[in-house]
Structure formats: C-alpha cells, structure tokens
C-alpha cells in the first residue's frame, strides 16, 4: 500500500472495507507521520495514540462500521473529549480532562472515526492566526514562517501536512473557512443549529458552529453527515433532516444554478492576487453552467463591527465560568488572599491578551448605559444583514466571495494591530451573523500561497455548498503543497 497518509478519507474507508489495509495500519501510519513532522508544524496539542489505536482495533474487529469507519481525524481542542486533555488553547484549562464527550465527539466515535488527537487553536477560538494559543503558534505547511489561519489553524495545518485526512473545526466568524482558505483545504461551516454545540466550549453562543474540514469536497460531505443532526441536549439545534450533502458532493455540473457575486466583498482591502483568483473562479463557475450576477448586500460592510460587539459580549459572559473554583487553573491561593483576589489573579494569568481584550470589550458593550448603543444596535444590524441575505435569495441560489482578503501572512505580522487581524474575517462574518451555511474551497494560488473561494447558501441548504464545491473542485483541482521542509 503506498503512503496511507496521502489517501483521501473516502479512499481510506474503502481500503479498510475491502481489507487492502486495516484501521490499525492506517492509524499507525498517521501517528508515525505526526511524530515525524509535527515538531515543525505544531498542529497538535495532544496526541492520543492509545485511544486512537484502541478505536482502530474496534473497527478492525467489526464492532464499528460506517462510511468513515477507521478514518483518522484531528479534533479542534475546543470540543470536549472524555478523559483527554481539552485546553481550548488556554492556560486556564491546562490539564483539564472533561468528564464527558461532546455530542460531535460521541458521534465520531460511534461512526468508527479514529480521533488522533486535539489540535491547536487561538485561545477560546478568538483569533485568525492561531498565534493566540497559549501553547505556541502552528505553522502553515505551505510556508512554515506563515500563519495557518485561525482560530482553527491546527486542524487545517494537520490536513495540509497530511497528518490526518479529516478534521473538525469550529467557526464563529470564519475560524473554519479562513484557515481552509490559507492552507488550500476544504472547510465548511454548517447552518447554525445544524451541528450540536453540546460539548463545544462556548465563545459566542449565537454564532459558534462545529463543522467538517478535509482535503476534498466529498470527504467533507461524508464527515458532515456523521456529525450533523438534531441533538436534544442542544436547545438551539435544528430538528430537521440533515441536508443531502453527500449526494450533492457527487454532482458534477452547475447548470441552472444562479450565483451571486457580493459587490461589497471585494475591492479595497483584498490583495490583488486574491481578487484575481476569485475573478477566475467566478468565470469557471460560468463555464460550469452557472448564471452569475452581481448582488449588492449593503449592510455587509457593517458585519465586522456588529460581530466585534456581539461575539465579545457573549464571550465575556461565557468565559465568566473560568473562576478557579470547580476546575482549571488556580493561582495565588496562599491562605491570605480572598476568593475574589484569587479569581482575578487566576483569570489575569490564565487568559491571554486577546481574550482579555474581548472580555473587556464585551463587558463594556453589555454594560448599563451602553447596551442599546452597542450590543443592542449590533443585534439590529444583524437583522439587516439577515434581510440582505433573504433579499439575495430572491434572485440567486448561492452567493460567492473571496473567503479572506489575504493569503497566509507571516507569523507576527499582525500581532500588534488587533484591527488588522480582525479584518481577516471581513468576508466570512456575514454568514455567521445570518446563520446560513458557508464554505471555503481551494481556488488556486497567489504568489505560491493558497486562496479560497467562499460559497454561501440559504439556511438548511448546506447541500448547495457541496454541489458548487464538487463541480469546482473537479474543474480546478486543489493545489498540493511541496512540504519541502520535511527532512
């Protein structure tokens, strides 16, 4: 069997089913590769070799079956996994082993997926570069001096460096899509409510969504079907059938599809190379049979400020539970200090600067006297953005835009300028505020670095993303990184 780590998930599953290889062999091959290359990429925070091999054995014994049985996967460290360290990229949860599995984790286990370990991320999912991890940054396999995107840089880097064929990320303002864009991989944010948030450590509850990440569209679709679906433990989870994403991922043409290019998501702020690849992608969609028009979504320009009011507000509340009482870090408990002091000290030391920035910002936006002007106003703008989407659906089936205004930038380049970092999300945020599904597909290179095509669809029409992505992928195969740093 040639390099098992170069197979797609679908190929891996098939090879295990037809016994040309075993789940244990596949798991071991990936664990070996992680040991060989992750020292340089730093995609993983924790590798669970024992758990992975035990799961692989169960698949080989026929105890677990399904379309992805035996396929290895990297899990973003923001999802709980019983007994396995879950840090959310933060010092405040160092060493915490949850006593329960997230629903996503449980569904993966039940489907026979082999979870290799937990991947690096910006602390509590706040960031666009994975540089805000308390455990050090992850490198982009395309160029180790560059960021892999964020907050889910670990997952996308694991894919791009062939350490896993599948990964799970979470997307609140673009944290699945932007890393996918800058690493040349596929990343999908499902319709909000499409995938359970039970066990997903909350950043911004009304925006967070877990989603599938892979190197191919079909792989992402297969993974999507494993994790999606109603969960009675999550009150915001949708009780409706999972959209037929695998079926859609097998489509090959776009005849009759109406595509809208969002006027506001281009031009100033978008690197020329990114814009160029995007324009070419749009032309390709036309060639594939789609009708393409321009659609104006005038309130999209306010998506960034709205998001940077709503998300930190919800986060400031969600992160209040990290108080040195029941789990996690406790510092300064010297027998003299009060609980209030220990709490404040622990939180100051346990949280990094980006998290603290957002907590203060969120506390401000919710505070008495400011609520109406900030949080309240942002939620109204959210309604306007939703209406822009709904109006768009009257004339088109999907909307497209570049996923991210830039290619992967160098590590450290935007750390001193929070606003510059925030602008990475300018194109991805609207879909989070609306709640509709959105994805990033590899769309060529600019100056040797990947560019992503973003597709957005109406709520519950996740299948449309896969239809577009599959057809596009066939016509514009994803570029492959040289990985010449591998020694």
């Amino acid at each position: 069997m040639s390099d098992l780590t170069r197979l797609t998930a679908a190929e891996t599953a098939a090879a295990i089913r037809d016994r040309s290889t075993s789940a244990v062999e596949v798991a071991q091959a990936h664990l070996d590769r992680i040991a060989r290359v992750d020292g340089q990429v730093h995609a993983f925070l924790h590798v669970d070799a024992e758990g992975a091999l035990a799961q692989a054995k169960r698949v080989d014994a026929g105890e677990l079956t399904g379309p992805l049985a035996g396929v290895p996967l990297a899990l973003k460290d923001v999802l709980t996994m019983e007994g396995v360290p879950t840090t959310c990229g933060s010092r405040i949860l160092e060493g915490w082993r949850p006593p329960y599995d997230a629903t996503v984790t449980r569904r993966l286990k039940e489907a026979g997926v082999v979870i290799l370990g937990k991947t690096n991320m910006d602390e509590f999912a706040m960031g666009s570069s994975t540089e805000h991890s308390a455990y050090g940054p992850t490198s982009n396999p395309w160029d180790l001096t560059r960021i892999p995107g964020g907050s889910g840089g670990g997952s996308s880097a694991a894919l791009a460096s062939y350490q896993a064929p599948l990964a799970i990320g979470t997307d609140t303002g673009g944290s699945i899509r932007q890393p996918a864009s800058v690493t040349g991989t596929v990343g999908v944010k499902p319709t909000y409510g499409g995938v359970s948030r039970y066990g997903l450590v909350a950043f911004s509850s009304s925006l967070d969504q877990a989603g599938p990440c892979a190197r191919t569209v079909l792989d992402a679709a297969l993974l999507h079907e494993v994790i999606a679906g109603h969960d009675p433990r999550d009150s915001t989870s949708i009780d409706a059938p999972v959209p037929p994403v695998v079926e859609a991922a097998q489509a090959r043409d776009l005849a009759g599809l109406r595509v809208g290019v969002v006027t506001e998501l281009s031009g100033e702020g978008y690197e020329p190379g990114v814009q160029a690849r995007f324009d070419e992608a749009v032309q390709l969609l036309r060639d594939l049979g789609a009708t393409v028009t321009e659609v104006s979504c005038p309130h999209f320009v306010y998506a960034l400020p709205a998001y940077y009011l709503i998300a930190p507000s919800e986060a400031s509340s969600n992160l209040a539970r990290f108080d040195a009482v029941r789990y996690g870090l406790r510092v300064g408990d010297d027998g003299e200090r009060s609980l209030e002091e220990v709490m404040a000290l622990t939180r100051d030391i346990g949280f990094g600067p980006e998290v603290k920035r957002r907590i203060i910002l969120g506390t401000y936006a919710l505070s008495s006297g400011y609520y109406d002007a900030y949080y309240g106003q942002a939620q109204k703008v959210r309604t306007l953005i939703t209406r822009d989407f709904q109006r768009a659906w009257e004339s088109v089936d999907v909307l497209v835009a570049p996923t991210c205004p830039t290619v992967a930038f160098p590590l450290g380049a935007k750390l001193e300028d929070p606003l510059a970092m925030y602008r990475q999300d300018v194109a991805s945020i609207p879909a989070n505020l609306y709640g509709g599904p959105a994805a990033s597909f590899p769309a060529g290179l600019s100056e040797g670095l990947p560019v992503g095509l973003q597709v957005m669809a109406p709520t519950l029409r996740d299948d449309l993303l896969y239809r577009v992505g599959a057809a596009f992928e066939q016509a514009c195969p994803a570029p492959v990184p040289s990985l010449d740093w591998e020694s």
């Binding site: 999802l79 709980t80 879950t86 959310c88 949860l93 915490w96 949850p98 006593p99 329960y100 997230a102 948030r197 039970y198 066990g199 997903l200 450590v201 909350a202 911004s204 509850s205 009304s206 009675p232 433990r233 999550d234 009150s235 915001t236 507000s313 919800e314 400031s316 509340s317 209040a320 539970r321 990290f322 108080d323 009482v325 029941r326 789990y327 609980l339 209030e340 709490m343 506390t363 919710l366 505070s367 008495s368 609520y371 949080y375």
Partner: protein
C-alpha cells in the same frame, strides 16, 4: 417613640419578592434529581455544574407550573418571552451568570386578595418569572457560620439549577398602620395558593419559599422614600417582624434628619432585627442580555386556557365555601388563616372530626405548641389525621379531655401515633368495673370520715372520694363511673 407612632407619622410602602423552589422531579435545565438533603455534589452534571461546553434545556414542567402560578395570581401570560442572563460572580453560581428572565417575564400584572383584620386588601403583582437556583455555600471558621471571619468556604451544587419562580409585588401603598400584617397575610395566602396548586412544598424553613421584604417610609404628601431590602426572612413570623423592625429603624433615622441608605439587609431570627449587608449605592451592573443558548418560550394560548380551566379552587374561595359548609364563622376562618391552620383544620375535618373540635385543637394547644417551638403549625409532628383520631377517642370515651391533651403532647414529642402514645404511656381511660370498684373501695377505706358523711346523707361529699380515685388513677378513671360506684358502694342514691 413606638411602632404605632411611627406609622402615624409616616406612610409605609412595602414590596415583597418571593422565591419559590418548584417541586419538579428534575432540575430546570438538566435531568439531575432535586431531592432535598442528598450528599453534597451527588446531584450534579456537566450542565448544572456549568462545565465548559455544557448547554441548558428547559424543563417543560417548570414552564407549566410557572404559568399556573401566574394564572392563579390573575396575571397575563406572555405570548412570547425569553430567558436572559444575569451576569455576576459568586462561587455558588457555576456559570457566574444566572439564567433568569429580565424584561420579558412569563407572567405580568396580576393580584392577590388577602384578608387582613376582616378587610380585603388587594396586593398588586408586578411579575412572575422563572430562573434557576444557586448552589449552597458553607462558611467555615467564622463564629456563626456566616461569612464574616470565615477562613474558607465549601460549595455544594446539588441545589444549583433547581427551578425557582420569582414573584414580585408592585409597591404596596395604603397599608396604613398594618404593613406588617399585610405582608404576613400576603405571604401566608401566597403559600396557600402555591400549596393548592401542588407546584412546591413551600417549606420556608427548608428554603423552598424565600422572602425578601422591601420597606420605605415617607411623610404624608411626600414622595416615596428610599427603600431597603431585607433578606433571609424564613418564616411568616419573620416577615412580620422584619417589616416592623424596618419601620422602626427607618422612622428613627428620618426623625433625626438622617438619610435612609438603599441597602440590602440580613434578617436575624434570634434578634428579630436586621443588619446591613452590601450597600446598594453602587448597584451591580448585571449586564442582562437574551440567553443565546435557549430559544423563546411561546405558550400555546389553547394550552394556557386548559391550564386556566383546570386550576384548583382558589384558597380564599375554598375557605369561604368550606367554612360556610362547616358552619364556622368568618372570624373563625380569619383566625385560622392567621394562625396558618385553616388547611389543617379542613384536613382534620376531612379525616372525620367535627369542625368545632378540629378548630379548637388547632387554634388552641397546637397553635400554642407551634408558637413556642417557633415553627409553622403544619410542621408540627402531629398530622390532621392524628388530631381526628384523638377527637374520636374522646368522643368514644376512651380519653378524657385532660388525657387527650397528654396524648397530643406525646405525639408532638415524636412518641408515635395517638394510639401508640396511649398504649406506651398507659393513658387510656380506665372504665373497667372491677378495677374502678377496687379503687373506690381503697378510697373508702382511706377516707373513713368522708365515707361516713356520705352514708349519712351528704351526697356532695362523695366528690372528695371521686377526687381521691382520680388522683390514684392519675386522672384516667372515668369520673362519672367512679361517682356511680362510690354511691353504690356506700349504699346511697343520688337525689
């Protein structure tokens, strides 16, 4: 100056906030059990512990109970409402926010009529909403188990997440000289309503019914004064005392020309007064916002109509009906309500006792026992069925009134059921002829002079012999039978 003078000089405005722990089987947002008294932290899960990643799911029974409470209090039921987060830090709150309701409560604008000294007072209700309870903190190392001087604290989250209904009155004006009585009557009546609905066991001493009492004073014609809030009011009696104590305290301050500070005070059962807690000058900013992990609640109007139709008879109506049926007067009825024993009396009647007897027991010996033990009558160790049994025993002659009192004392002391106490203490009326005859003969032998008098025709003197027998039998002899036997034995007939 005294309390009554205070209320002549100032007008009180009172408000009551009541928290009711619902008696649901499981918690508000998770399936953990809600049993009282379990070992610490054995009724918790990722949700009620607020573990990272956990999410709440609303208990449908809690919604139903809250709506029924609102309907019983004549409230409007929201067509659509939401939960909100109330953000503040305290170790008994696992998430450091409480999932509650803010500007969109489930029920609004109701009222409860209460009887105070024969008059109906209508207490306006501002809102009824649903939230979750906190855990319990034990302060270790301090003098009284309170926070001050404690070296550390221990937290138990069994109670965290139990559904809590908050009932808030509008400011109640015009109570004149009776703010304390009105407050107490309101809480008593509210408790009756809640008990009747079956939504909570409303045991103040177990914390399933908690009151915060708000009081302000103003001179007639002036604006309302600054109010204080008194917490830790754990009994009906404390409600009354808390109001009184605040009226006195505030009146004195105001007379001296001083300001009443807006603050939260802590009530002490032992002293009957409150001490200041947190100053509310710098009010905590709770930063309320709609709870994103929960979706809106929109009760189906048809369902609300069904709930309304199925409401039990309001306690006030039931009382009126039953007291009329039983021939008890309004005064009786009111006395029984005030003593918190009306339901007990009715239950005793239901168990077979005549109304008057039931009333006499509960308003007499039992009310006294409750008072001296400092508990509600309902929490005495004696049940209505027991009282009915004692009444029956007296009626059939097995107990005299005196013996009955001792039997009741025994039951109250936890010695068992009335029959068990009778047997254990040997309190049965002695009516066995031969036993009585033997006792009479002994008395005659022991009192020869008296016996002579009786033989000589002074029948009245027989009383002394009856007395002697009663003494010898510790009051357990059937007095009438003893008298008869004395006369027989002495060969005398009654004129």
């Amino acid at each position: 100056m005294g309390y009554d003078d205070d209320l002549r000089e100032f007008e009180p405005v009172i408000g009551l906030e009541t928290h009711v722990e619902l008696g649901t089987a499981s918690k508000m947002f998770c399936g953990c059990a809600t049993e009282f008294g379990a070992e610490p932290n054995t009724q918790t899960c990722p949700v009620c512990l607020g573990l990272p990643g956990s999410l709440p799911v609303v208990n449908e029974k809690a919604i139903e109970s809250t709506i029924r409470i609102g309907l019983a209090l004549h409230c409007d039921i929201a067509v659509w409402c939401r939960f909100a987060r109330k953000n503040y830090f305290y170790p008994d709150m696992p998430k450091n926010f409480q999932t509650s309701q803010y500007d969109e409560p489930l029920c609004t604008d109701g009222y409860l009529d209460v009887l105070v000294e024969g008059e109906v007072v209508r207490i306006p209700i501002e809102r009824v909403h649903l939230e979750e309870d906190t855990g319990k903190t034990l302060h270790v190392g301090g003098a009284t188990g309170r926070i001050h001087g404690a070296s550390h604290s221990l937290v138990d989250y069994n109670r965290a997440g139990i559904p809590l209904v908050e009932i808030v009155t509008k400011p109640v004006v015009g109570t004149g000289a009776r703010p304390a009585e009105v407050a107490k009557a309101y809480v008593a009546e509210l408790r009756d309503v809640l008990r009747g609905l079956g939504v909570s066991d409303v045991k103040m001493e177990q914390g399933s019914l908690r009151c915060d009492v708000n009081v302000s004073l103003n001179r007639p014609g002036e604006e309302w004064g600054t109010r204080s809030e008194t917490k830790n009011v754990n009994s009906l009696r404390s409600v009354e005392r808390a109001v009184r104590s605040e009226v006195e305290r505030q009146a004195e301050l105001l007379r001296r020309g001083e300001r009443v500070v807006q603050e939260t005070r802590h009530f002490h059962e032992d002293t009957g007064h409150s001490t200041p807690g947190r100053s509310k000058e710098e009010a905590t900013d709770y930063r309320y916002f709609p709870e994103p992990d929960l979706v809106p609640v929109a009760p189906d109007p048809a369902w609300v109509k069904e709930l309304q139709a199925a409401l039990p008879e309001a306690p006030s109506l039931r009382r009126a009906r039953m007291t009329a049926e039983l021939g008890l007067s309004d005064l009786d009825s009111q006395a029984m309500v005030n003593a918190g024993v009306l339901d007990l009396v009715l239950a005793t009647v239901a168990a077979g006792a005549p109304a008057a007897e039931a009333r006499n027991w509960w308003l007499g010996q039992l009310a006294q026992a409750a008072n001296s033990a400092g508990v509600d009558a309902a929490d005495l160790a004696i049940a209505p069925e027991d009282v009915a049994r004692v009444v029956a025993l007296v009626a059939e002659g097995a107990l005299t009134a005196t013996l009955a009192k001792q039997v009741v004392d025994g039951v109250l002391a936890g010695e068992g059921s009335p029959d068990e106490v009778v047997a254990a203490r040997g309190l049965a009326v002695v009516s066995d002829e031969s036993a009585l005859t033997a006792a009479v003969d002994e008395a005659i032998v022991g009192n020869p002079d008296v016996a002579e008098k009786v033989r000589g025709g002074k029948v009245a003197a027989a009383g002394a012999l009856v007395g002697a027998v009663m003494k010898a039998t510790r009051g357990q002899a059937d007095a009438a039978a003893v008298r008869r036997i004395v006369l027989e034995r002495l060969g005398v007939t009654e004129d």
